[in-house]
Amino acid sequence: MRIRMTSFFPDLNVWLALSVAGHSHSADAWTWANLLPRETRLIFCRYTHIGLLRLLTNQTVMGEQTLTVRKAWSVYDRWLADPRVDFYPEPRNADAEFRRVTEPFGARPASKWIGDAWLLASSNGLQSTLVTFDRALYQQARKQGYSVVMPG
């Protein structure tokens, strides 16, 4: 898939920061997002889509601000109505890219890197820039030559 416009791929935590005012990185996320021109693309993939719904409706995560499933869908729908935001299906080369991203960790036990690797692989497969607040993910992405930004 070839995408010519500037595209960003917020990871799950960035979508949460953009969605919930109480997130410690919400201000940084919005300072960044409000600078983006209307022509920019902010990409949801299936993982960040399901993940956002899951987190917004989980009491251990959202506490007193836990949403119903219906309200979580309305948050997602409002995101999709934003002209900068789109859902993109899994890129065709995602599997090969996923294997490549996990290769440096091949000799280690499974870790949270598996999930991060999928996000990074998806971002790269969609020719977009990963957006994250995770310093370790940011550094690993840069080390492997991927396009990545950390707002703030």
Partner: protein, 77 residues
């Protein structure tokens, strides 16, 4: 109004498409249209850009609310 077009597909791809259509009961045309719609979603939206978080509540967030890292364990659990 639909536009008629002709595209040369590689044989293996056409075989896959025909098999998928037979298995799913969908027409080849509908499979192609859906694939194009999914690959190149409509980007001509006229709505407003969001400028602030949608969830402005003041209630206490949960103990597992993330700060920096992606909370994958909640998604896979």
């Amino acid at each position: 109004m639909p536009v008629r077009t002709t595209v040369d597909l590689p044989d293996p791809l056409h075989d896959r498409l025909r098999n998928r259509a037979e298995q799913s009961g969908a027409s080849i045309r509908s499979l192609i249209v859906r694939a194009i719609e999914q690959t190149y979603p409509d980007t001509n939206k006229s709505g407003d850009c969001l400028t602030r978080p949608l969830i402005q509540g003041s209630g206490k967030l949960g103990p597992a609310f993330p700060e920096d890292e992606n909370p994958h364990d909640f998604i896979f659990s």
